[in-house]
Symmetry: C2
Subunit: 371 residues, 2 copies
């Protein structure tokens, strides 16, 4: 098996047609609509194509004419390494890929990492639609995508008028978790959260920063916590919230250390992701704190490692999320909807999973009689 020799000038459908003395249409039909010409002629066309080294119709020219690229673009404002290492991102990616596979569509990963200010990659991508995953609402790539006249589906965040969205009900899910912790009797809590905006801030997140967060998901989760704990008399401004730019177990551990150092009275650590919670768990062990006896720790996402660790968390079906987004984009149910501008929103079920890392605080009174 060896590669065909390239002729001086690539053969085209037109040159092949000329060679055969037939019209271009006929050659095109030989490839795309075999029933439109006699088997004999078709055989001749294909045979001559082979001799001339004609590789078949050019995909780009075809795309131009048919207005179909046969691929969707995935925008993820994150280093691609992250997408391949973070279990949640990987699950979503897998779900999307599955949906694409189902419909025979390509999935194009767009290079739009943090360092990449160049939006042109979005403008140059020949795709029939976009899936946007976990992007801050002020991202330039995102506005580039929205300018393109192709359908777009956003996963999780941001929430944009007129754009389809797939995601869990973060507010409800986090409220359920907050209620769980409240019911256990915790009133002295601390929060670990993921990146709130593009500018790195590893440390406490002020109230202002929380409200101005460009990552919608994180903001919603914090709001839900603030509301629920506010209802039982916990003043949110007194609740320590520690932010981490990078999303790793190690960062979760340092965040927990930072929080516990400054607020040793805390009886429950609520984390906006499992990864951070697993880090907190590590840090708790390092300090000799028993979980949940001395410290309650909760996560969010329901990744495999969390289940293994018995973490109390909110499970969300990450793979389904990706698959739903892909299906929404690829299966044009939208055609049935009479209103052209109608937006579809798919809300995914979440489930509060109570594990072995949450329990009543050791002495509920401790807070009142303080040191």
């Amino acid at each position: 098996m060896s590669r065909p020799i390239r002729t001086r000038r690539q053969a085209t459908l037109a040159s092949l047609a000329a060679e055969l003395g037939v019209s271009r249409t006929t050659v095109s039909n030989a490839y795309n609509r075999p029933d439109q010409l006699s088997p004999e002629l078709r055989r001749r066309v294909l045979e001559t194509a082979r001799q001339l080294g004609y590789p078949g119709p050019d995909p780009v020219a075809r795309s131009l004419r048919t207005r179909k690229a046969g691929a969707v673009g995935l925008l993820l404002t994150e280093n691609l390494s992250y997408a391949f290492r973070d279990p949640v991102a990987l699950g979503v990616l897998e779900g999307i890929a599955l949906a694409c596979e189902d419909s025979g569509t390509g999935l194009q990963l767009l290079p739009a990492g943090p360092g990449n200010e160049d939006v042109s990659t979005v403008h140059k991508a020949g795709v029939d639609g976009f899936i946007v995953y976990s992007v801050p609402d002020d991202d330039p790539h995102l506005s580039g995508v929205l300018q393109r006249p192709v359908p777009t589906v956003i996963i999780d965040q941001p929430l944009i008028d007129g754009v389809d969205r797939v995601g869990p009900d973060d507010a409800a899910a986090m409220t359920a978790m907050a209620n769980h912790v409240v019911e256990l009797g915790h009133r002295s809590i601390g929060i670990l959260c993921m990146r709130l905006s593009q500018d790195r801030n590893d440390g406490p997140a002020s109230m202002l920063r929380q409200h101005q967060a460009h990552y919608h998901t994180q903001r919603t989760r914090l709001d839900a916590l603030a509301t629920t704990f506010g209802n039982v008399g916990v003043e949110w401004s007194t609740v320590p919230v520690i932010e981490r730019f990078d999303h790793t177990v190690a960062d979760g551990a340092t965040a927990a250390a930072e929080l516990l150092d400054a607020n040793p009275e805390v009886t429950a650590l609520i984390c906006t992701s499992d990864i951070l919670a697993l880090g907190a768990l590590e840090e708790a062990h390092r300090r000799g704190l028993r979980v949940p006896a001395d410290l309650t720790i909760t996560g969010f996402d329901g990744i495999a490692d969390a289940q293994r660790a018995g973490l109390t968390t909110v499970h969300q079906p990450v793979q389904d999320k990706g698959h739903a987004a892909g299906s929404l984009l690829l299966n044009p149910i939208r055609k049935t909807s009479t209103v052209p501008g109608s937006t579809q929103v798919i809300t995914l079920d979440t489930e509060l999973k109570i594990g072995t890392t949450s329990a009543q605080p050791r002495t509920t009174e401790q807070h009142w009689f303080g040191p």
Copy 2:
């Protein structure tokens, strides 16, 4: 933020030029060569574009003219789920993605799963090149790729004349492993290997099947074992080789069980992948066999879990492998090579990692006095 209202008919570069009373060239330049027109005119062009809802030059039309798609295709004849679950595949994928990110190129995952007989997805992909990863040498998608007049790089397998390739020296690496096991004194060995061909065969792989294997990598590794052990008097035809179609830890375990049931005299289990070896390890523990005292087990690849388990294995830099393939495709060093048809081959370094799962057989003589 909301989407621009779509006009009756999408504006094009031509309609925009007409509206402005300038030539198409000028509009094109406004987007692609700002220095070619006065700032004032450029501002007007962009402003009018905004008013008309013109989304900028169509990427497909641009690609047709410039003969650049800005993306490379990844062919992987495997369910995409596999690519996202298998640590080796994931590492390779990450490496490729990194290389693409470096050069601002998109990475298009082609849907070419096992069930997908349709080669048209390969023909329809508008890409500037292909990376082929771990594909059997008789795969129809592969020949589709090779027909396309774009550069192609193959990772691992198959080995095709005139096509660039990136991969380890499997023969040398496996020979090193075989020598290690030979030097420990093992003469009664068993082999667990991955899929040899597209047709499922979970069980013993006959000599014929081994020789006809369509997965070049597996064949090479087996050949290396056969040669090395042949040199010390072990007749290869007597060595049990158990094949598994799916590549999971569970399959490794059942393969080990199958082999050990039929060949209890075996003192060393050489596996062609870490995943299979980890399964074998599980099965050995289940049977109460001590590793390495009762049974030596070796792997191949050097994944993280293997390191954690102390597995004796051959480490190969999977991420580098992907990155090298991407770089080879994207950085056209090829231009410097005078011979147009010259082929580049990058061979990656491997390293024999001796862990805690290999040791001398308990009684080397056992084999000679055997039952």
